[in-house]
């Protein structure tokens, strides 16, 4: 059945952004977004990766086929948005090995405003069969559209869903399959939070990154630090102090502010290239280096981006560009910020360390690519 890949163009679909032909990149981790129709899959994908306004999702068409999107960022991954109506485990029509065979996560979206019994049945089926195909797949359940539920009801719903699912899976002997549950909505930050956690599981460097953040926080008097992917507002790592939703929201809003300003005043340049300082009373300095750039194509000069906002509760919100995809956003007391020479120095060290982490990854990818090329070269000579 090797030809079926081409037949259904599972790999080579041109939908979505820049799908590269690079064999190495083809094995980027996959996020498979599944669930019943109208559960909000496409909305999630649009809101998180396309910055669609939440209420515009009302006008989304229903999805006819798997929509694949390549996300090029600190780690490259693919997001596959499934149509809820089609059973992709139907082996006669689809090659489910190809669909579910890769490293990644399966996100199952359940509409919490609706009767979710049918969705749960589908979830159980999906977990059962996907796990059969690929033991390494992680399962993430988004209990979605919770914006209309009261807090109490949210908790009840989550407990109920969690309970039913674990019971069901235990019945078929799959109690060891790890499932995580999230309460999400596109109308607030919860969807970004949930996505962050999902993505973090796919980052092999996560412990290293967390460690670095811990060191940075401890030595600079930072209360909370997030390492954000700027374009999706997903945070890929944070220090080990507990995440409280408000802090996350304000940090995430900071990124929006910067992006908005750079979109208005920076024209073609994305935020990285702006040296944006909002410090103290009204000293504002906007500087662009004039280079065109967008998602994934910005240059290294973006590293210098920095911005500060003094909050009225005596805290300082501080953003620093790390590399072309990442930014560090941290919250600290303004008296700790007195020593900002030290903070700057620590930050430089942090940046250096991050660069080294990703350099390592880049090199191994390159090596892989070279091997691939040599292989194909051999084939050419042989034939």
């Amino acid at each position: 059945m090797s030809h079926s890949e081409d037949e259904y163009s599972l790999h080579t679909s041109h939908i979505g952004n820049d799908v590269s032909e690079d064999p190495v990149q083809d094995h980027r981790p996959r996020l498979l977004i599944m669930g019943l129709r109208r559960s909000g899959k496409s909305s999630i994908q649009k809101v998180v990766f396309h910055k669609m306004a939440a209420n515009e999702t009302l006008f989304l068409e229903s999805t006819n086929k798997i929509i694949k999107e390549n996300i090029t960022s600190f780690i490259d991954f693919q997001v596959w948005d499934f149509p809820g109506q089609i059973d992709y485990f139907d082996t006669a029509t689809y090659d489910s090995d190809v669909i579910f065979g890769e490293y990644g996560a399966l996100i199952f979206v359940i509409d919490a405003q609706d009767d979710y019994i049918e969705a749960l049945n589908r979830l159980h089926q999906t977990v059962l069969r996907a796990h059969e195909k690929n033991k390494n797949l992680t399962f993430e359940v988004f209990i979605h559209k919770v914006d209309a539920l009261s807090d109490e009801f949210k908790i009840d719903t989550q407990r109920d869903i969690q309970q039913r699912t674990t019971d069901e899976l235990a019945d078929v002997g799959l109690e060891n399959v790890p499932l995580s549950f999230y309460l999400t909505s596109i109308y607030d930050h919860s969807i970004f939070e949930a996505f962050s956690k999902v993505i973090q599981k796919l980052i092999p460097q996560l412990p290293t990154l967390e460690n670095l953040l811990n060191i940075l926080c401890a030595n600079s008097g930072i209360e909370k630090a997030f390492l954000f992917d700027v374009n999706s507002k997903i945070y890929i790592a944070t220090d080990s102090s507990p995440v409280d939703m408000q802090t996350y929201e304000i940090c995430s809003d900071m990124i929006d502010v910067i992006i908005d300003i750079s979109e208005i005043y920076g024209r073609t340049t994305s935020f990285h290239q702006i040296n944006d300082e909002l410090y103290g009373d009204d000293q504002t300095q906007v500087e662009t280096n004039g280079k065109a750039g967008n998602y994934g194509t910005t240059t290294d000069t973006a590293n210098d981006a920095a911005s500060l906002i003094k909050l009225n509760n005596g805290m300082v919100l501080c953003l620093r560009g790390v590399n072309r995809f990442l930014a560090l956003v941290c919250l600290l007391r303004s008296d700790n910020f007195e020593k900002h020479g030290l903070i700057d120095y620590n930050f430089q060290c942090f940046k250096q360390a991050i660069a080294e982490v990703f350099e390592l990854k880049r090199r191994s990818a390159e090596r892989l690519r070279h091997e691939g090329m040599r292989l194909s070269g051999d084939v050419n000579e042989g034939g």
Binding site: I15, R37, S62, N64, I67, I86, D114
Partner: protein, 554 residues
């Protein structure tokens, strides 16, 4: 040609689903042996519906029949994928058939009684069903590209090749106000499908556009009333029933299926029309080209080259616009065209005359009116490639076959005794003075007499072979076409046969070069196989050989 046309839909509830398909059935499927998708049960299926048909057929008068079959339970489906008929009582009071039992349409081809077109939700044949279903899923959720309408071609040898024309229509109740549909045309022959591409695409586009514009109108209307309502009842409508947000409004809709096309387009006979369109497309597409199966690759490519000549687009829409032409110019002394000649001579004489001529025998046309003789000659000469004709129109003495194969002779001239009468066919034709112009029908205004030559009348098997040259030709003449189109059709027919002759020529030159005559026996079986592939009746070989001879020397 074996194909199936269907309308498929991406249903909000069920995903891709087949709504309706139309398929042609040939009562005796001689050509279909090698065709995977041919439906062998086709022979028996037309009988199921026939008993019910009488009254409704008359009432409908557009040659539609409603057949009833309760063998297979109606497929469970949501309204959005349902296909339905106009209420039957509007068609026939005499009949009390419940809508739920109705399975489809059946249309008889008036021009070819062997063919019926059946329109159902699914094809009966399991294999075919799988292929149609596959085509449906692929076109709506694999080859599909959000936002892109229009044709796409895909397929493989196993499931057949598919031309799919995708289009969306507006529906105020649908998500994103759009619904996706596609016309799929499925057949086994990729080359044929590619050759038919422009034709099919243009027809599908026309069909899609008309559906879309209808849907647009209704969409606009519905939107207008919706706005009106919102304005007018803004204050009064605040009960618990009214949805407060658009999402709630949509959510309420979410669990009930969308409207069927009949309701959406507010056109009760939508599927009747669709079936008529599909049947016509099947028929017209089949008439455009002749499908042939050839094993040999080189021959195949050649045949494509040759047959591209024969692909003359006659738009058969036009053929139904004109009433059949009658003979009304009584004083005319010429014979208009082949059809007129056929009407004058009658089947048997006509057959014999044509057969002798196309096999290379000499035709001698005798008569006292040179105009009539000439008109007969000019009609007949168009039946064979021009290389096969050497004409002497108006001679006073007999000329041998080496000089001409069509000879117009003076009425008094005699044919010498020593001429081989089996290679010669003599037609005497002149106006009948006794009847003259008083007679209504022109066909009776002639007297004629045919002598000599060969005849196949006694060999029943050969006589009735449907694929023989002569029977095909007569089949064409029986079509109710206006004369202009008839002439084009005959020209195409001639081109098809000269293409066959050329293919055959290539075949024999090739096998002569390869095997010499050592394997004569094997050659002849190979040859048999070959002529079957290019659909030549064995008894027509003399025709082919004669044409080859002329084409070679030319």
């Amino acid at each position: 040609m074996n194909a199936i046309v269907s309308l498929v839909h991406f249903c909000e509830v069920d995903g891709p689903s087949v709504i309706f398909c139309t398929q042609a059935f040939h009562a005796n499927s001689v050509e279909d042996i090698s065709d995977e998708l041919s439906v062998s049960s086709g022979g028996k299926s037309p009988s199921t519906g026939q008993t019910h048909s009488d009254s409704s057929k008359e009432l409908l008068s557009n040659k539609k029949e409603y057949s009833v079959n309760t063998n297979r339970p109606a497929p469970a489906s949501c309204a959005s994928c349902a296909f339905s008929l106009p209420p039957l009582d509007s068609l026939s009071d005499a009949k009390t058939i419940h809508n739920s039992e109705i399975k489809g349409f059946k249309t008889r081809d008036e021009e070819n009684p062997l063919v019926t077109y059946k329109g159902t939700r699914y094809p009966q044949d399991q294999q075919l069903y799988a292929a149609v279903r596959q085509a449906c899923v692929r076109s709506l959720s694999c080859e599909f590209c959000q936002g892109r309408e229009g044709p796409v071609l895909f397929g493989d040898d196993k499931n057949g090749y598919v031309l799919s024309y995708m289009f969306k229509i507006k529906d105020s109740q649908a998500r994103g106000s759009q619904r996706w549909y596609s016309f799929t045309f499925l057949m086994t022959d990729r080359v044929y499908l590619v050759e038919s591409w422009p034709f099919l695409v243009s027809k599908f586009r026309a069909l899609a556009t008309s559906i879309q514009s209808r849907a647009n109108q209704i969409f606009e209307k519905e939107n207008a009333t919706k706005e009106e309502k919102n304005d007018g009842t803004f204050l009064t409508r605040s009960g618990p029933l009214s949805p407060t947000s658009p999402d709630q409004f949509l959510r309420r809709r979410a669990n009930q299926p969308l409207r069927s096309l009949v309701d959406l387009l507010r056109s009760k006979d939508f599927f009747v029309q669709l079936h008529a369109n599909f049947s016509w497309i099947l028929k017209a597409c089949g008439m455009r080209l002749q499908e042939k199966h050839l094993n040999d690759q080189t021959l195949f490519s050649n045949s494509v080259v040759f047959s591209s000549k024969t692909i003359m687009l006659l738009d058969p829409v036009a053929t139904y616009k004109f009433p059949p032409s009658d003979f009304n110019c009584l004083e005319e002394t010429r014979i208009e065209d082949l059809k007129a000649l056929y009407n004058i001579l009658g089947l048997d004489v006509f057959r014999k005359l044509i057969l002798n001529f196309v096999m290379g025998n000499q035709l001698v046309i005798k008569g006292n009116d040179p105009k009539i003789v000439q008109s007969v000659i000019s009609i007949l000469k168009d039946l064979v490639p021009s290389e096969c004709c050497s004409i002497m129109e108006n001679e006073n003495n007999y000329q041998t076959i080496s000089k001409c194969n069509i000879l117009g002779l003076n009425a008094t001239a005699q044919i010498p005794n020593d001429v081989n009468k089996s290679t010669l066919c003599l037609l005497y034709i002149s106006r009948d003075c006794n009847k003259s112009s008083k007679d209504k029908a022109m066909t009776n205004a002639f007297e004629f007499n045919l002598q000599y030559g060969i005849d196949d009348k006694d060999n029943k098997r050969i006589y009735s072979a449907p694929n023989s040259f002569i029977n095909q030709l007569i089949g064409i003449l029986k079509l109710n076409l206006p004369s202009e189109i008839m002439n084009t059709r005959i020209m195409i027919f001639k081109e098809q046969w000269s293409s066959k002759a050329k293919q055959f020529l290539i075949f024999i030159t090739k096998s002569n070069n390869e095997g010499g005559n050592a394997l004569a026996n094997m050659e002849s079986t190979k040859q048999k196989e070959f002529i079957k592939y290019i659909d030549i009746n064995e008894n027509d070989l003399p025709i082919i050989k004669f044409w080859i001879g002329c084409l070679k020397t030319a």
